[in-house]
């Protein structure tokens, strides 16, 4: 457990000192969301109708933007090698890194999401469910993304590759995340969608660290 906290603390202090990543992710999220009113026109009814989908798609793209950096810096300076060789299990260390990634990118997205919902004229009934759905969905995005980030280590043009690998795997989160908000807007219960999102989160929490650790070990060969 100490190892988990140690890597979490280090990654957070690195993110704090470099800062750019979190800001960039949120800025990207805001800019992408803002593009839609320009594209589809400023009619409030249409915007309200597509708001949940737009917010989710933008969040997905923004989360993906930061993935390449999850392991790349550690891979380049040799830290990843030493993490692999540490007596603490690599799966636990990866979980620590993923948690740090979520705290620095997922959490700011959740905070920015209601602002974008207001801009897109989403009905207030959907706000609470949007936040809950993102709280369940974004950690799953970080966990799935870590697998992709580990698989591209050592590849040229990894950024493009990681999107191709990871985006299809994000589809379930998108479907149920947007679905939950739709249900809330229609005034029906969103419990089913939220439960499925919780299930996706638990599944990725159990499986992703192992898959990621395997990919990292492969990259060390």
């Amino acid at each position: 457990m100490n190892g988990f906290l140690a890597i979490l603390r280090r990654d957070l202090s690195l993110a704090l000192r470099q800062g750019a990543d979190s800001v960039m992710v949120v800025a990207f999220f805001i800019v992408t969301t803002t593009l839609f009113p320009f594209g589809v026109g400023p009619e409030v009814n249409i915007l309200a109708r597509i708001a949940s989908g737009v917010i989710w798609v933008s969040a997905l793209l923004a989360a993906m933007l930061s993935l390449e950096r999850v392991f790349q810096a550690d891979y380049e300076d040799g830290s990843l090698e030493l993490l692999t060789l540490s007596p603490v299990s690599l799966e636990l260390l990866i979980l620590g890194k993923v948690l740090a990634h979520w705290l620095t990118t997922g959490l700011p997205l959740i905070i920015a999401a209601p602002l974008m919902a207001v801009m897109l004229n989403m009905d207030q009934n959907g706000f609470a469910i949007l936040m809950i759905a993102m709280l369940l969905g974004t950690p799953a995005l970080s966990l799935i993304g870590a697998i992709g980030a580990a698989l591209i280590l050592g590849a040229r043009r990894g950024g493009v590759l990681v999107s191709l690998l990871v985006l299809p795997l994000y589809i379930p989160v998108l479907i149920f995340g947007a679905g939950a908000v739709e249900a809330a807007l229609l005034g029906i219960s969103a419990t089913a969608q939220l439960q499925i999102m919780a299930a996706i989160l638990l599944l990725t929490l159990a499986a992703a660290p192992f898959a990621t650790a395997h990919a990292v070990r492969q990259a060390m060969e």
């Binding site: 100490n2 190892g3 140690a6 890597i7 300076d77 040799g78 060789l85 540490s86 007596p87 060390m220």
Partner: protein, 237 residues
């Protein structure tokens, strides 16, 4: 008394056979110096020993137990120093070292870091961030890492790169102290490092052309059925 040995190791990188049939043995207090031309597999052997690579065939054993049986235990007793220094430019020397100590669960970590920094004479740099270090200072910081926490095996891949003559002498001194305490050191170097009577392992001796190795593998496969046939005939009779 610890014993670290490898038997009949073959290392295959991509489609290239780096070395084959390599065996070695080292006991507490021993130093093994790896020699060989560029590409002979010095780094590969050290990575095999660290557990970063898996051998194509053969086994590495610590006190008779295969290191892949209990990786955590092997990692806990081993310090590996690769080509890279693993120093984060935005963290101070002390913060850089702290993580590796924490991952090893070192007790009284701050004192241990102080001792390591003093041993490499970089204590005055402890609050300097990584980006302002010279390459020699980075290397010393990386060397300080291997002094933190108990270990029984040092795997040093070109530890002298970037070090001045004085630091090399200090490194030799650290190696001598580590051996006196029962540690095993395996290292590769291009310059003469003043280490007392090391066992020399010349990797050029274990280079085998791919063609020969493949032929050997075929022989083994060919032999298997021919050995099997008489027994089945005997069984039939």
């Amino acid at each position: 008394m610890a014993d670290f040995s490898g038997s009949d190791l073959t290392c295959l990188r991509g489609e290239r056979l780096v070395f084959g049939g390599l065996s070695f043995s080292a006991k507490s207090g021993d130093a093994v110096m790896l020699r060989g031309r560029n590409g002979a597999g010095k780094s590969s052997l050290l990575r095999l020993m660290a557990g970063l690579l898996a051998p194509r065939s053969g086994a590495l054993c610590w006190n008779g137990e295969n290191i892949s049986d209990d990786r955590a235990a092997h990692h806990a007793r081993t310090h590996y120093l690769g080509h890279q220094d693993a120093i984060k430019p935005v963290l101070t020397v002390r913060d850089n070292l702290r993580l590796w100590g924490q991952l090893r669960g070192v007790a009284a970590l701050e004192a241990a870091i102080d001792r390591a920094l003093n041993a490499l004479q970089i204590h005055h740099l402890s609050r300097v961030t990584g980006r302002y270090l010279s390459s020699g200072q980075k290397r010393r910081t990386a060397l300080a890492r291997i002094l933190i926490g108990d270990s029984h095996l040092w795997l040093l891949d070109e530890p002298t790169v970037g070090l001045d003559r004085e630091s090399c002498a200090e490194l030799a001194q650290l190696i001598a102290e580590f051996r006196a305490n029962g540690g095993i050191v395996v290292y590769s170097t291009h310059i003469d490092l003043d280490v007392e009577n090391p066992t020399i392992l010349d990797l050029d001796d274990f280079a085998i052309p791919m063609v020969e190795w493949l032929a050997e593998q075929d022989d083994i496969e060919d032999m298997a059925p021919t050995k099997g046939t008489p027994t089945s005939q005997e069984a039939a009779q």
